[in-house]
Symmetry: C2
Subunit: 158 residues, 2 copies
């Protein structure tokens, strides 16, 4: 089971690939993709799609984990978030990945034991679980690790 | 210049392919794609993507025309509309299409001469312009034809 967790955004998309073997989780890869704001929308989407296509193929991803988004202040930002999620769903279809989706509360609860945890609490737990992780990692990355972890743990229960 | 106009929706996506030659517009193809609601999200997106990939290649499409969407009552529907638009932008990137986007008002104004025209007014004008068009065509299709036409005419001005 190889889970790709993604926290998509046009500002910086965080991602993490976690492999689950014999009940243990290994962080295979993580990082974030900045999508150059000076490029046209279709180019940014193309960069995003190509990047994740490579990640999925390289790490033989089997599951895609996402967080349920909620409408913020800006409806157009929400629509554009849909563009990125649409690409991820398309990749799931093209590579026959299982799609897992969790609410922010479920993810926080799974990782910190507290559904209303702050972002830095999530980050602290992620660093405890993966001590090798550089402290420079932004929330985008630690959030994506939390999403992947939630997927890895939840799939255990089922 | 071959324009693909799309009015995406998970209920029924209308589309039209219009070819512009020597200042004249020819309706090459039009129709709608129902996305089976009993299938998983990623499958529906896959069907949508594959369908338009074929249309673009078959008709050697050069331009993609879309309508600017506005947030309706349901934010989740708006997000999911983003999934389909994201796929179209990705196809535009993969086939180097120019992306044209118009507000509903611009489209109505271009086609009927009245920015606040009703859907059936748009439909009537579309039927007048393309008398061969079957009267069974739904609004999804006539709206998509209107989007393509707006693209064809606007590109004339520029």
């Amino acid at each position: 089971m190889v889970i790709l967790g993604v926290d998509p955004s046009f500002t910086a998309t965080g991602y993490a690939v976690i492999k689950k073997e014999l009940g243990k989780q290994f962080l295979i890869s993580c990082g974030f993709i900045p999508l150059p704001s000076n490029k046209k929308m279709e180019e940014r989407i193309g960069i995003f799609y190509d990047y994740f296509k490579k990640i999925i193929e390289q790490h033989k991803v089997t599951h895609l984990a996402l967080e349920t988004p909620f409408l913020g202040k800006n409806a157009q930002t929400f629509l554009k978030l849909g563009y990125l999620r649409g690409c991820l769903h398309l990749l799931a279809y093209q590579h026959t990945l299982y799609v897992l989706e969790y609410s922010p509360k479920e993810i926080k609860l799974a990782v910190t034991g507290f559904g209303a945890a702050a972002k830095d609490q999530v980050q602290r737990v992620v660093h405890m679980l993966f001590p090798g992780l550089s402290y420079q990692k932004t929330f985008d990355v630690t959030d994506a690790i939390a999403i992947s972890l939630c997927g890895a743990w939840q799939q255990n229960i089922i």
